[in-house]
Symmetry: D2
Subunit: 280 residues, 4 copies
């Protein structure tokens, strides 16, 4: 089982949580804590082998403790895989990579659907066998309806997490709000540098010596959501924008994959407009 | 206060440790655990603000618990700085960098002495003001006597940690054993590649595309001690051995500095011939 | 057109090569030289837009110059794509990635065949549509025959370059010699560390803090061929061997892809048991 | 000798330059070219062993060719070391590191002066022995006079290159213009992210996962000058602003040192608001 929690800091949190687990026969396998001295908020992730009692009793006991400590918390059996929807557009390198990793067993999730504003034939080389595909075309005029369809699909499929795998549509403020904390985007620059459109062309024009990618939670404020993971790669004056796009595909794929895996493993906790990431 | 411990894994360790701290009014600021499922050994580092009671009572209570759980443990007030001796030879880039960082406040330690098999005039540009310097020359014939002097100095100065900052003498098995777990060496290759002498020349001859450095605890088995930290840098066919030496100086400095800082902050725990490093 | 050459160093090589190109109306777009002062050998790669004359005349003129300077040289129109055979075994992450990149247009090559000692059904998620697949099973007893089949296939398909994409069979000395300088292997360690079998398990046992992968030309001397490219990734005590395997897949894929692309673009020149790589 | 040049691209530049060198008995040791297809500008750096003739004749011949091809060019004997002035303020990690590397022989330059708006006693641990030190205090009211003194000193000492080694004063537009292309600044962020003051605090507030530093030529447009080199390091939620400052010192030192060394070796050519860097 994986328990995550955050709450106002005070003495005794670790003691009370670990005592609660111990009394129920649980064995802690891995644990990380973080006390944000700036905000006075405490964060914790505990992986444990449960004891013999019913999980529901444990959940109730944690709930009681949580209330008394004003905790935000989650408790999840790693075997209860998250339900994930992937959104894509014209380019499919992130989509393709996520599906490949999922088939390799790197990403413990169930895919509820792949959704695109382009038809399935856009992805002839991505192995979508056995995955529900939905084509939801969108124009400036139909954006509201398309988002309504999308939201309905998210609800109907009981999707926990939405991944924008280079989905080239900006979500409305309304949908962003509905998906707060459970929608991950990959932006193809090292934020906060090169916000907005065509970041590789911006990077080329500025003459930077490294390019990067950023995985972040989606918020109504474009390219300003809490950052989960970033990485960079070295470039040189020889690299034309098309070379940056090629190198960028590699960075985007690995940054998004890490952010998704960490989220699926309950390693990512929100801390205001930032994240706490208990990496492995 | 910083508590580190390792012991055979069993249920309730975290609970018992955190309860003990909580009962004495301590507040846990940072904690990391690791359960090595291969060896069945549990590792923990806890940083806490102590409560009002005497530290000695706390120490006694931990000692009692430690005995019942067969723990190796340390408890240290970060204000009780470690006493560190630095050994150097002809080149002084690691020595110079350690002293610079210490003066910047990056390395919380007291320097008991800088010891070299070369005279102090070897280091005209290293600021040794206010630091005890000892010249202990060595020849194959006098090696045993020199090590005896060195060992006496370590004892007389109550040195906790010895750093071989490119000290070009191999310690005897006997002295290595005496310093087990408290002597750090920097080897100028990415171990286990290029053991032994002149690793940059070996790397050049082999045509590798990255060179590296390794900070490790010293053991009688040369270049086989538990690794604390490693890093690498990219090279190309244009790099002659002298370029590797230059690039290597940068890698060695930062790898050794990280290993020393982590050790000073009680982040490095021995796990057989490996280490557990609770990085920041 | 791309011209590569290497020869004993002497004055006037660049002048004579560039004059030859200029006189025939060629425009140099990119050029890199390297003078190995250790071996006295000169290396050059020139990319140029040819003038109006016939390429065969240019080739003849270069041939004449090459003879007088004792050059090894190649001249290739980038539109004449190299003919490449990919060999794989049980795991398909490298195979899958190469094919994906090839379909993206990252790797300018024609695939003559994918060959495996396992049947095509081993790779249900790799898009082999339109690619010739050959199953060449092998046992210790049939190794010689299987290699004979393989060699015949290489000749019949006029294959220029063979890629061992985690092909888990050691080539015989004889076949290695036949493929000298045109067979690339990906080894899943940072050579010369962890040669031989199960390098990730070796790395875990040794407790290194970085793992890596190495792309090299195959020679009869196992894991000792000229290195083309290497890269590493950080690991921690938390990583079990299966985590190293997972992280390693990412490193292997990008290291092999870079080595293959550079080779296809005539950027890799042999320099004894080392390589000169004129990177972009 | 090192020749650098840039000019509008046309056929025959390499041929004419290399023929000119060959006819005078020079031997090319290393050469790199770059043809910027976007701007139609050609860049070249050639290292050669001169023949027997007088250097001044060679210089005249190059001058003639340069005129006919509208070249910007430099020709320099590596033994004629550049004259460099270093400006510093309160923190001295970059100053200290540059001087250390210079004493190690890593930076082929003569230091004309170390100039600071703070007194020499600010740097008790930096070895300024044998280096001219000038204290030029500055207030908002005296800024114009101080810059006049600085400019006079630059002229009097025949300084070729000015390094702002964490000099915390913004140069006026006028002085920036006078020093165009020969004044290098180190900015403590990964530009274009976090321009302006206190970038590490900005980075902490934004929650980025990597921090960086940027060495660039100074222009009137603050933090917008041509970038020479950048690098980054990984951080986590555990890093407070003071930790970013500490980690940043390491990045700043190595980024600035690389940019300075490359400039001293004539590897950095201006290309509009960008740079061409022929790295080693």
């Amino acid at each position: 089982m994986i328990l995550t929690l955050s709450c106002p800091d005070r003495t005794g949190i670790v003691a009370r949580v670990s005592a609660l687990l111990f009394e129920r026969g649980a064995n802690i396998l891995d644990a990380q804590q973080f006390d944000d001295q700036e905000t006075g908020r405490f964060f914790m992730r505990v992986v444990f082998a449960p004891g013999e009692g019913a999980v529901e009793d444990l959940r109730a006991a944690i709930g009681e403790l949580a209330e008394s400590l004003a905790m935000d918390w989650t408790l999840r059996d790693p075997n209860d895989r998250r339900r994930v929807m992937i959104l894509a557009s014209q380019t499919d390198h992130c989509l393709s990579d996520l599906i490949w990793r999922w088939r390799q067993g790197e990403l413990p999730m169930d895919i509820t659907a792949v959704v695109s504003n382009h038809p399935e034939s856009t992805y002839p080389h991505t192995d979508l066998k056995g995955i529900a595909f939905r084509h939801l075309p969108v124009t400036p005029e139909t954006k509201a309806q398309q988002e309504a369809q999308l939201w309905k699909l998210i609800q109907d499929t009981r999707t926990d997490l939405v991944i924008l795998a280079r989905y080239m549509q900006v979500l409305s403020d309304d949908l962003s709000a509905k998906l707060a904390g459970r929608c991950i985007n990959i932006h193809h620059s090292f934020l906060p540098g090169f916000k907005g459109a065509k970041p590789y062309h911006q990077a080329h024009a500025r003459g930077v010596k490294l390019i990067g990618a950023t995985a972040h939670f989606v918020t109504a404020d474009l390219d300003e959501g809490p950052i989960i993971e970033q990485d960079v790669e070295r470039i040189s004056h020889r690299d034309a924008p098309r070379d940056l796009v090629r190198k960028g595909r590699d960075i985007e794929r690995r940054v998004l994959a890490r952010a998704v895996r960490w989220t699926l493993e309950d390693r990512v906790l929100l801390n205001g407009r930032k994240t706490v990431v208990f990496t492995d």
